[in-house]
């Protein structure tokens, strides 16, 4: 009987420690690059300009300058 209680206590202790480890790692991931990607991935971006090359930026500037008249 005592043996059974001890084994159960060990298992419970291991589960608690496991939960602690996973929550610890998850907390760290939320503060890093993962958080940045999460913000960016919130909404579809296909309607936005793809600012990769210099020409992409020149085009975006050209388009926006039209609104200054």
């Amino acid at each position: 009987m005592k043996k059974g209680i001890l084994i159960a206590a060990v298992i419970i202790a291991l589960i608690i420690i496991g939960i602690f480890i996973f929550s610890f790692n998850g907390k760290n991931a939320g503060n890093g690059e993962g958080a940045q990607k999460q913000i960016a991935a919130g909404e579809p971006t296909q309607d936005y300009a793809n600012l990769q090359t210099n020409n992409d930026i020149f085009n975006a500037i050209d388009e926006s300058l039209k609104f200054l008249d």
């Binding site: 043996k3 001890l6 420690i17 790692n25 793809n50 600012l51 926006s64 200054l68 008249d69």
Partner: protein
Amino acid sequence: MKKGAVLISAFISLLLIFPIFVYAAGSSTIPPQPTPTPTISDKAMEKKDCESVTMRKERIKCRLQNKVEEDGNIDYDVRVPEACKTLRNPTACIALYKNVQSSQCYNLEGRDKDKCFKETAGIRSNFSGLIPEERAQKAREYLVFLLYEFEERIEDDNKKGLISDDSAAEIIELITQIKEDILSGKNRAEIMPKFNELKQKIRAVRS
């Protein structure tokens, strides 16, 4: 009874050993790197105060040579952005720079970057949803963010040794002039000649 004692000791051992793994998961120790002793020329560069340089182009060149751009961590309360210095209302201009800095748009790429710029300027995916009075003001803010992107690219190329300090300073000075014109309310016709000049200069150094 003996078995019970073994199990208790095993349980205690596990409790003692596991926190070590938890601690190891949360921290890593980097072996200390030997810090190089600064040479006399390094010390002289550290002491160089670029902000006291009177001519803007020379001031920009000084920052490039002394690598004081701080990778987007500039304290705009201490160092007022060049394009804001000559404006009648530099406070609003500084706030704009702080806003885009805190949005961390410059850490993003492609469409995510554009989305971030537009959201920071208060634009949705395009300008059509804005009333005409708002449209010009939002476009000006968005244009400043796009031009700053060029500034960052030129600084990066300069750091990599792809663009000379003189060329980089010349282009950044021209970008600053365009940003000043945009922020001071000039219209498209007044800005276009400088923008075309910028296109030519950037294409000449970054193909």
